[in-house]
Amino acid sequence: MKSGFLKRLSLSVFGAVLAGSLLTGAANSQELIVYTAVEPEELSGFAKAFEADYPGIKIKWVRDSTGIMTAKLLAEGKNTKADIVWGLAATSLLLLKDAGILEPYAPKGVEKLNKLFVDGDNPPSWVGQRAWIASICVNTAEAKAKNLPIPSSWADLTKPVYKGYIVMPNPASSGTGYLDVSSWIQMWGEDKAWKFMDGLHENIGIYTHSGSKPCKMAGKGEFPIGVSFAYKGAQLKAKGAPVLTVAPSEGVGWELESFGLVKGAKNAAAAKKLADWSVTRETNVIYNEAYAVVAYPGVAKPVKFFPPDIGKKMIKNDFLWAAKNRKRILAEWTKRYDSKSAPKKK
């Protein structure tokens, strides 16, 4: 197949057809390419703050959802254009570490961070920045109109009154969805957790492919209750949507937005500067503007519209366990709930 002749031929055809102008690209050396899954509306703020501290460096964001970003990085492997992965789920960074894509590096001051938030290896391959925490978004206007009580626990969600009114992310397509499922199992053990999900499934309107969508759907009243994360609910409320964010009483799952350096990065020095910047107290204060729980101890202040004391409800989350058991749990989940084809009538 790959005879030299064909290779040359295809190359020359290709070269002739596509003029050099098409080859956009060789990145400016000042430009730091950062792969991220941070919510898009926050990115320009972070870039401005960082560029103010390091005027020589310009951040170029490549943003996608957690799943796509992880898949993209795994597919690109060592050929990736990324200099640093920043604001991606810790479980995703575990996969990247496994695939040998990450360059271990201890940012200046990393020792001041909460130990639970940093990779156990020394130097660490990934460093957590802040936690996003599972929550239930309830549309108060729709709940009132439909006479729905406001749920206060996970168990409440299995009550027949909510039939067809709940959306949650499909754990097979969304990291947030898996974070919910894994937290239920970690909290209650397999049997009780699956029994709970059996009940929950009866009430689910649809499963979505992303973690923030259920909350946004709740905000628009498309489905009054969305299993999502707290940041999204608080943000929607701030924008004026009739959304109440509930942290269920049994405890809530959480995941870390984290960063890790890429092996063989073109702009390794600049990437290290971003890493150093990311663990400072000042930066953690910025994290706290939108997220209630951050890696730097003693920084976090309550965030408006977040459920009070949500930090205390965070479960003891074992990332390694969650990563190791992911395949098995998703297979079981898919078998139980995803192959039921008929959409439920209300």
Binding site: M1, V17, L18, K78
Partner: protein, 576 residues
């Protein structure tokens, strides 16, 4: 393909062997033809076959890249959801094919074979869906029939999230694709057949079934094949509105994006490739039976007025247009609503893309650039390719092989093609990896992704030109390329311009093929739509879709004006 198949690349054959003698007898123009076929063939090989091979290889590897044989397949076929997904995919694709082809044929019949008024307007309206990303009809249906939908009562309690939603959105999305082929098939016919039937007093029904349908059958089958595979391979629609109704395309998405399980994604992709084989077999079978309709002596067909038929089809076309405009109109309206459904005041707040996405507006300019390159480069390659398949004189095997390759892209889901590109082009040892993460790879991927429909359209157009043109020019010792430029290109100008527009607008709207291939500098508008919808910013997604639609409409109108001037000069011969 090995080096031995390439004439002149090997000196193994003894001088004077029959093959070599045949080669020596080739005239200079045949060499040009051979070089052309080989060049395009090599390009398709490098940008379609080899990436697909890389995908195939991935399907028999584990996450670490070690060979594991068929374990992935075993695992997949043992999983519970598979049979349901395959069944769902086939059901949806079949029903959508039947519905859309019936509608599109009737519509195209009205446009080409009746004297109803406003034909030009209807035709323009019917092509609107092609201007929108496939996510748009799904988004719009949620605003129309969702739980907060304006006319959800029409569903009588059925949920729009599921097969109903997928089907309605798919019919909207593939309608222009199918109609375009139907119109091409129905518009070129020989009026003398109808005159003869008329003179013999044949009843209209009989005329329809013995002249009209057989004359258009190649197009009809092509249209059905296209409808079926477009439906089964689209992932945008089921992703947005499929609810719990799983189909193969969303399964791939879940495997790759949700679980980063590339090997399994490759497996599902290969399962989805099966329809390609069937499409190819059906296509070849019908194609063999096709004879040229437009002989050198053909007379253009002009319908005569017929009150009942014309009125009936006019009403049908009006209803169809209402459906199409309704879907688009709802998305347009929703994009201006400040916060659905609680603040219905109109504003432009959803169009402030940079607020919700750092690459918001810049992605739009990237799309313009990408679509422009795709249209110009694509149409050149596709026309030459179709010309060589249909009108080439020598090398029938090579041409057949090329045609086979050209059919494949239709059944390769965008996600799978994109993934195959990643596997193939991201390898540093591949000399073509310099194109990875450039605008060029997006252009190439898009051309390949939309190759088949363009190729079939071009082929249908070329097929209707009598082979006598070649015989005459060759007996006059005119080289083929001169005949091509003087006869085929002008006659095919309508098809060429259609294909250019088709490529442009599809490049503007494609999502799945390029979602793994874009880089910071080359993010596209349609990907922004996907991202926005994915995080639940539905109104902003609708707004970006509208920007894409508006762009394509503008380009189309400009192009239409240009073509009208050109047509007046080049197509005078079509009038009697």
């Amino acid at each position: 393909m090995s080096a031995a198949d390439i004439p002149g690349a090997t000196g193994l054959e003894p001088p004077g062997s029959p093959a070599l003698r045949r080669l020596r007898a080739l005239k200079a123009e045949s060499w040009i033809m051979l070089a052309g076929i080989l060049a395009i063939f090599a390009a398709l090989l490098a940008f379609l076959a080899l990436p697909l091979y890389a995908l195939l290889k991935k399907s028999v590897e584990d996450d670490k890249g070690a060979f594991v044989g068929l374990i992935n397949f075993q695992e997949y076929f043992a999983s519970a959801g598979l049979v349901t997904s395959i069944g769902n995919s086939l059901t949806i694709a079949f029903l959508t094919m039947v519905i859309s082809c019936t509608l599109a044929f009737t519509f195209a019949y009205g446009l080409t074979r009746t004297c109803m008024p406003f034909k030009r307007m209807f035709r323009a309206l019917a092509t609107i869906p092609i201007l929108a990303p496939s996510l748009l009809p799904a988004i719009s249906l949620i605003y129309l029939f969702g739980n907060q939908g304006v006319i959800k009562g029409l569903l009588f309690g059925e949920s729009i999230y599921g097969p109903i939603g997928i089907m309605i959105a798919m019919v909207f999305y593939i309608f222009p694709h199918v109609m375009m082929i139907m119109v091409t098939a129905l518009s070129t016919t020989d009026a003398r057949l109808y005159e003869a039937a008329d003179a013999l007093g044949t009843r209209p029904m009989r005329v329809f079934f013995t002249i009209t349908i057989p004359g258009a059958i190649y197009g009809i089958v092509s249209a059905m094949v296209v409808a079926f595979t477009l439906t089964i391979t689209d992932f945008g629609v089921p992703k947005v509105i499929g609810g719990q109704y799983n189909v193969l395309a969303t399964d791939i998405y879940k495997q790759v994006v949700g679980q980063q399980n590339f090997s399994m994604g490759a497996v599902v992709g290969l399962v989805l490739l099966i329809p390609a084989v069937f499409s190819f077999l059906i296509d070849r079978h019908v194609q063999k039976k096709q004879v040229a309709l437009l002989s050198a002596r053909a007379v253009p067909f002009h319908p005569k007025p017929h009150k009942m038929r014309d009125t009936g089809l006019l009403i049908f076309c009006i209803l169809m247009s209402v459906f199409l405009i309704g879907i688009l109109g709802m998305a347009a309206y929703a994009s201006f609503v400040t916060f659905w459904p609680y603040d219905l005041s109109l504003s432009l707040v959803n169009y402030d893309f940079d607020r919700v996405d750092p690459n918001g507006w810049s992605s739009f300019y990237n799309s313009l650039k990408m679509a422009g390159f795709t249209a110009v480069i694509g149409v050149t390659i596709i026309f030459l390719g179709a010309y060589m398949v249909e009108k080439g004189q020598n090398f029938p095997k090579l041409r057949g092989l090329f045609h086979m390759l050209a059919i494949v892209p239709m059944a390769v889901p965008g996600l799978v093609l994109g993934l195959a590109y990643v596997f193939f082009f991201s390898r540093p040892e591949n000399p073509l990896s310099v194109f990875y993460s450039t605008m060029a790879i997006l252009v190439v991927c898009t051309i390949v992704h939309f190759y088949t429909v363009s190729h079939l359209t071009m082929l249908t157009a070329l097929k209707q030109i009598d082979k006598e043109f070649e015989s005459v020019s060759s007996s006059l010792k005119v080289p083929f390329y001169r005949t091509m430029f003087r006869v085929h290109v002008p006659i095919c100008l309508p098809a060429i311009s259609e294909v250019m527009m088709y490529l442009f607008v599809n490049a503007m709207t494609t999502v799945s093929a390029v979602v793994f291939l874009y880089s910071p500098d080359t993010k596209l508008a349609a990907i922004t739509v996907l991202n926005l919808d994915d995080v639940g910013d539905t109104a902003e997604a609708a707004a970006m879709s509208m920007v894409i639609v508006a762009t394509s409409v503008t380009v189309r109108v400009a192009h239409g004006l240009l073509m009208r001037g050109m047509n007046a000069r080049h197509s005078a011969w079509r009038q009697r």
